[in-house]
Symmetry: C2
Subunit: 195 residues, 2 copies
DNA sequence: TGATAGTCATTGAGTGCTCAACAACATGGT
DNA sequence: ACCATGTTGTTGAGCACTCAATGACTATCA
């Protein structure tokens, strides 16, 4: 299965294109797709590293934790069931559990027993947590603006939204993350990539 | 600094928009930008989790390590100086050093002394490493296709490339880079995307 | 009622990443 | 030749994430 074409090895790169395409069962990426994928990877890596770095430097908060604080700050009573919080912030239950434990240590979040389900836990944002979020938000906003929106036209922003929506749509039911009824849940995939 | 507008708390979300904008020094995100940023975050998280998961499950390779193997496979003699490899794969030197150590343990890469610079090390892809890459590539390609390109029109792909290019482009001079004149940003990169 | 299955959340081990500190060598000027 | 400075790459500590296993509870249904 030699995929090489010439010395320059446009090889197994990020999934190379090959004239043998028709025969191989694999649907390789076209050169344009390949280019898009690679620059996309570079862009996201730099972007997240910049965003993460700013939050870490200026507020000592990992970006993931910031997301959690945000979701809680928007919820009724600034509190959410763990599983709902996990879904809202795209965290696995395990990851969330560890994360909330850390946030609790810092005094930004507290855990309460859920009154309606004795298995459940409710995470609630404390005043200290809210204050921290408030303090961190402007710097984060500025960073996101500089890294992303200052560089894009408004047309590009709207296409970015389209693209992201398409990609975010049901990548398939991840390990044990699906929760509610199968109703219009945008994340749940119907036939598609189910697997 | 109450940023709330109403009960629904369109608050410190991902950097909320506020009528007090003109007064606050902070350049908050507009509602459209906010929407774009959030769905973008969701999309990338799901995407990377799907890609990472596939590689891990089917080939037991973290995506970052896959990138390293790819860069090496494309280099002359399937070998690169550590620092060049770091730049090509968007790894920090430290991260790369750790990663190559693991790859070496697996027998996929070997380290050689650089003949021209006695500080230097050269990472070389072994035959076993190449074979592993070859085996992993089709599955990875398929996954990227399903997660991304099957969902996008070719127009969208080209805009995605534009957007990514803009975001990947060298970081703007920003406040945090005070200490050092020239570069200073976490993303370095002098001229452009040297490459 | 009791048995089975499913859900909620946590835990610990293993692994990867970041950050700061460091050793070794290279480079440029005096 | 010498010293200051910059570069290359490694190391270790500490934190974050994943995966599999577990305990505790709920739901369903015979």
């Amino acid at each position: 299965m030699t995929i090489t074409r010439d010395g320059s090895c446009q090889t197994l790169n990020y999934l190379s294109y090959d004239d043998r395409m028709a025969q191989s069962a694999t649907r390789w990426l076209t050169p344009e797709e390949q280019r898009a994928w690679r620059i996309f990877l570079t862009a996201t890596q730099r972007l997240f590293s910049a965003v993460e770095g700013q939050l870490q430097r200026d507020s000592d908060i990992p970006h993931g934790y910031y997301e959690i604080l945000v979701r809680l700050s928007e919820a009724d009573g600034r509190a959410l069931r763990m599983s709902q919080l996990a879904e809202a912030s795209t965290f696995s239950k395990s990851r969330l559990s560890h994360a909330v434990a850390r946030l609790e240590e810092r005094g930004w979040v507290e855990r309460l027993d859920c009154p309606t389900d004795r298995r459940g836990q409710v995470a609630r944002l404390t005043d200290a947590g809210y204050a921290t979020l408030e303090a961190a938000a402007p710097g984060h906003a500025e960073q996101v603006r500089r890294s992303v929106f200052d560089r894009l036209s408004s047309d590009q922003v709207s296409v970015l939204t389209e693209i992201s929506t398409a990609i975010a749509a049901g990548p398939r039911p991840d390990p044990a993350s699906l929760s509610d009824e199968a109703s219009g849940c945008p994340l749940t995939c119907e036939g598609e990539l189910a697997e």
